[in-house]
Subunit: 109 residues, 2 copies
């Protein structure tokens, strides 16, 4: 039984997808899979600029996708919504199926 989506619901849905629609943000989320990390650690791990990482983390935080904890000078970020990874798995499955289909379409001609 499909849920019915109001216009506002669609806006919220789109906003969340938009928050996930950036490779850098996915990279950050992925880096947080094995536990909380500081901004500096994330900068090192991703190779991105520090201001850039901070901005992306801020956005993820506003979307409640990550949470943060301040300890002295450092700020530790962590995943706040583990359902993200289910999402990614689902999409990956679908992407693989799509690639398989394209491959099959190629070899068929």
């Amino acid at each position: 039984m499909p849920r019915t989506f109001s216009d506002e619901a669609l806006e919220l849905l789109a906003a969340r997808f938009k928050a996930l629609a950036e490779p850098m943000r996915l990279k950050l989320l992925n880096a947080l899979r094995d536990g909380e990390k500081t901004v500096t650690e994330l900068v090192e791990e991703t190779g991105a600029g520090q201001a850039n990482v901070s901005k992306h983390l801020g956005l993820l935080y506003r979307h409640r996708l990550v949470a943060r904890r301040k300890e002295g000078l450092k700020v530790y970020y962590r995943i706040a919504d583990p359902s993200i990874f289910e999402l990614c798995e689902l999409v990956c499955d679908s992407l693989e199926a799509e690639l398989d289909a394209r491959r099959a379409a190629l070899s068929r001609r």
Copy 2:
């Protein structure tokens, strides 16, 4: 056991999320839940401009999220990847949980 995501995988993932990160496109996909429809029908149902609908459908088509079938003058679009709706359900659940949390946070102070 978490899947490991390469940089390319993250790009592909982000690209798919981006395709879903537009309320109008979600509206179109939602409108296609109950079966295939023509562009004109979708224009009427969404209230958007024809060129706009056509462009969005083209993008969804390139992403293999919808398929199309030409019959005379009309083009019938349909959902090509039903996993989209699982995605939306997942995100909606998460959004509801988030809203509940915010509500609770408000009443607590």
